[in-house]
Symmetry: C2
């Protein structure tokens, strides 16, 4: 039932995009914690490796998209952090 995984992937990645858009528009990164972003990013990379190992197309798809989203948040956090 790979379709359930793909619907799940769509919903959870879609829920993440408004945060990326809001951070990009407002450049307000005060509410974002760099250590937590890095924990999350590392976790998603491991989920991708796990998804590849268990050959789950929906996990590979979802985690590729989320790696991109969370990488952007890490980048914005570093770029827009108050000096």
């Amino acid at each position: 039932m790979e379709i359930i995984g793909f619907i799940a992937a769509f919903l959870t990645t879609a829920a993440f995009l408004p945060q990326v858009y809001k951070t990009w528009k407002t450049k307000d990164v005060s509410g974002l914690s760099l250590p937590m972003l890095l924990l999350f990013f590392t976790g998603i990379v491991l989920w991708l490796i796990y998804g590849i190992q268990i050959k789950s197309p929906s996990m590979i798809f979802a985690n590729c998209v989320t790696i991109l989203s969370s990488f952007l948040l890490v980048y914005f956090k570093i770029k827009y952090a108050k000096k």
Copy 2:
């Protein structure tokens, strides 16, 4: 290599907990979007069903924890929303 899934589960669920704690302490839910929380919650429920179908212990564990965390955020959002 179920261990990779469990490390991934630990990292991604751990990154979610500070948000729950912060929302609980501050009661500030202005930055949280209810439709997005509901999308995310629905997505996580589907990931859990998918994890059960593909018999992935680490996905079942991670999604049970995240269902609880995101349910709390939905509850706080409704409870603390400005009237």
